[in-house]
């Protein structure tokens, strides 16, 4: 039976009772997975359990990232809707940790042990010209970039997943990550020209540094695992590259940032913008 929670008690206790789904981990109940899991090779099950538990740890770490974002938005006197969403995102990531542990427990055939506690990590942006710009960079870097990459990654994982359990888990994760990314894009809509100019000068470093973190992800090339929500590395990297070209560049351009340097870096040809002639380099 899968009615009993398979996430650890410690992780479940961190989910707020007044959170997005009123203390529940998911919006919709996860499908029964006993039969599909029982059919799997025990080694595959163990590996999937370990992978999902590892993801629980990284999801939980991002809760601390969003605590930084929430504080930054408060200090920036950001739009109240965005401040509220940033606060919710802290709990969202804790729910994600519980959800990933739930998946791990189901694959592993027991209650998942609590995930590892990873140390928080964030960029320093020591070269930012003011504390205000630094806070803006935090919001843009974590939300418009990191969560956009996360959404692109999950979208790719979902497309390759065949397992009803994995698809349900990925759908729940993606629904939240999309909101978290939108937080960053919405914030960019609220900025004045001066701050947009400042942020434009940071697009390449922000993208390079964040993409580097994502490229460190170690993923197995295994079709069986892909069916259970673990995309092959090649697929994930392609999704991330696509995200840079087709989400970040047009997205930043849409909100009024100067993307010419970023476009040159990614080798994307663009036309129709001021000074575009020189920026249109051959595709890499």
């Amino acid at each position: 039976m899968t009615d009993v929670p398979r996430a650890s008690a410690r992780t479940l206790e961190r989910v707020r009772r007044d959170g997005r789904w009123g203390g529940r981990v998911t919006q919709r109940a996860l499908p029964s997975s006993d039969a599909e899991v029982a059919d799997l090779d025990p080694e595959v099950r163990a590996r999937l359990a370990d992978i999902w538990r590892a993801q629980a740890a990284t999801e939980a770490r991002v809760a601390t990232s969003f605590a930084v974002i929430h504080e930054s938005l408060l200090l920036l006197e950001g739009d109240p809707g965005l401040v509220a969403l940033a606060a919710r995102a802290i709990d969202d990531e804790r729910r994600h940790a519980a959800l990933c542990e739930e998946a791990a427990g189901r694959y592993g055939g027991g209650v998942c042990l609590p995930h590892a506690e990873l140390a928080p990590q964030q960029p320093a942006h020591a070269r930012a010209r003011s504390a205000e710009i630094r806070r803006a960079l935090f919001v843009v870097g974590q939300c418009a970039l990191n969560e956009t990459f996360a959404s692109a990654y999950l979208d790719a994982a979902y497309r390759g997943a065949r397992s009803p359990l994995a698809r349900a888990v990925l759908r729940e994760l993606l629904a939240d990550e999309v909101d978290h990314a939108r937080l960053g894009w919405a914030y960019l809509h609220t900025l004045d020209e001066e701050l947009r100019r400042e942020l434009s000068e940071w697009l390449v470093p922000l993208t390079v540094c964040n993409l580097r973190e994502w490229r460190r992800i170690d993923l197995p090339e295994d079709d069986v695992l892909a069916a259970h929500g673990v995309p092959p590395r090649e697929v994930a990297l392609r999704a991330l590259e696509e995200a840079v070209r087709e989400l970040l560049v047009p997205g930043f351009r849409h909100v009024g940032l100067d993307t010419r340097a970023l476009e040159r870096w990614v080798g994307v040809r663009h036309a129709g913008c001021s000074g575009a002639g020189e920026s249109g380099t051959p595709s890499a």
């Binding site: 163990a46 990232s65 027991g110 998942c112 042990l113 070269r127 939108r182 609220t190 390449v204 340097a261």
Partner: protein, 143 residues
């Protein structure tokens, strides 16, 4: 061709704003002109705590270590971007390219296997320690 997530992520994001549909302004800008939208020419903000330059043209990272130009070059190559930056506003020697990024939400680093022992990559723990294996051992209770 537009990415299938472009509309969801970017174009529709304004609905999150409390003043959705209205022109909004960042606090450092003058009140928005209803005709022209947000803007203002307040000039660049004064530096408050801008940067922590290190010696020899490097800069200090979070741990106070000096990173030099070679490290910057490595970071650039690591990012697999062009090494000839050209004159379009970025520089391959830009120290900002060596910063840590925000950690991904998806981290399947726990997939190394050595004699049936699953090992994590070097992962820093909240208590300051570092694990190579402990976090991945025994996924479920009783295993």
């Amino acid at each position: 061709m537009a990415h299938r997530l472009l509309r969801s992520l970017v174009l529709s994001s304004v609905v999150l704003l409390e003043g959705a549909g209205c022109t909004l302004s960042h606090r450092s800008s003058p009140p928005p002109d209803p005709d022209t939208g947000p803007g203002g020419d307040g000039g660049p903000p004064p530096p408050e705590d801008g940067g922590a330059p290190g010696r020899d043209g490097g800069w200090l990272d979070d741990a106070g270590r000096v990173r030099d130009a070679a490290a910057v070059r490595d970071a650039w190559l690591d990012a697999e971007g062009p090494t000839d930056a050209g004159g379009l506003g970025f520089d391959a020697g830009d120290v900002r390219l060596c910063e840590d990024g925000w950690p991904p939400t998806k981290g399947f680093w726990c997939v190394m296997q050595d004699d049936a022992v699953l090992c994590c990559r070097s992962v820093f723990l909240a208590d300051g320690g570092m694990v190579d294996e402990a976090c991945c051992l025994g996924t479920v209770e009783g295993s």
